[in-house]
């Protein structure tokens, strides 16, 4: 698996990657700093999965997802965000996200949403 992890915080990217490993996912990971990089790297690197923060500079995660879908890119996309309200979950779902994991998260939280996606 080739996975793009996006967060404007380097600390949080490290925590996400560390927790994915704890969950048993030994993936090849590339990192993005903001929503614009998510869009650019999704199209250039073509990862198998995108795990993205929501609230980021330049472009938000939801803006990146919407732009990717408009560009015809259907790479599986999930949010990892500190904001887990029902409104945001509905917005993520409407934009085509597969799941939203709220921060703080555990390895089990990742397994719950990722195992069904991975089949």
């Amino acid at each position: 698996m080739y996975v793009l992890v996006a967060d404007d915080s380097r600390v949080m990217r490290q925590i996400v990657i560390r927790t994915l490993r704890q969950a048993g996912y030994e993936w090849n990971i590339i990192e993005a700093n903001d929503g614009q990089e998510v869009y650019d790297m999704a199209l250039s690197e073509k990862p198998d999965l995108i795990l993205s923060d929501w609230n980021m500079p330049n472009a938000t995660g939801i803006e990146a997802l919407q732009a990717l879908r408009q560009a015809g890119c259907n790479i599986p996309f999930g949010f990892v965000t500190s904001e887990g309200s029902s409104e945001m979950r509905e917005q993520a779902d409407a934009a085509g996200a597969l799941f939203l994991v709220a921060k703080p998260f555990t390895a089990e939280a990742f397994r719950e949403v990722l195992d069904p996606v991975l089949g």
Binding site: V11, E87, A102, K103, F105
Partner: protein, 161 residues
């Protein structure tokens, strides 16, 4: 009262902070507790905060995390899995301490009675000036012998039609 829209109590603030530290720092163990007694004078204060804005109603909320720089450095080392004696650079301190405020604030936002827009975190050597805004509540916390204070304020914004 618009302050009723920021209906987050101290028990919820404690639970959020315990969850954040347990998941992000302490390997699932709950090492944060409410502090009883006076908060000691801080020599090298630092503060990080995020705003939750509801422009249509002309109000918002601000979650502020306060501690001292040495404690923020301990937190940064823990988050980045650095050695106990490793130097913490300014960028890592700002990133780690700001992310703590971001995750605490994001969880507070989920408890507001109306949808709000979360800002990116701000990190400073001084607490934010809050003179025109309304203090809601705070809670002092112990973490591994260090002290953190979480504050919640109501912000008065210019209403947007």
């Amino acid at each position: 009262m618009r302050s009723g829209l920021v209906g987050v109590d101290r028990t919820q603030m404690l639970a959020i902070t315990q969850d954040v530290f347990a998941a992000m720092v302490d390997g699932g163990e709950v090492l944060v507790s409410a502090r009883f007694g006076a908060v000691p004078e801080v020599v090298d204060p630092v503060a990080a905060w995020v705003d939750m804005s509801v422009p249509s109603l002309g109000f918002g909320a601000r979650a502020v995390v306060r501690t001292d720089r040495p404690t923020a450095d301990v937190l940064t080392r823990a988050l980045l899995m650095m050695g106990d004696d490793e130097h913490v650079g300014l960028d890592d301190f700002i990133d780690a301490f700001g992310e703590l405020a971001n995750v605490v604030g994001g969880n507070v936002k989920s408890l507001l009675s109306v949808p709000a827009v979360l800002s990116l975190p701000t990190v400073s050597g001084q607490a934010p000036v809050m003179e025109d805004n309304q203090f809601i509540q705070d809670i002092a916390l112990d973490w591994r012998g260090h002290v953190f204070v979480i504050e919640l304020w109501m912000l008065v914004l210019e209403p947007v039609a």
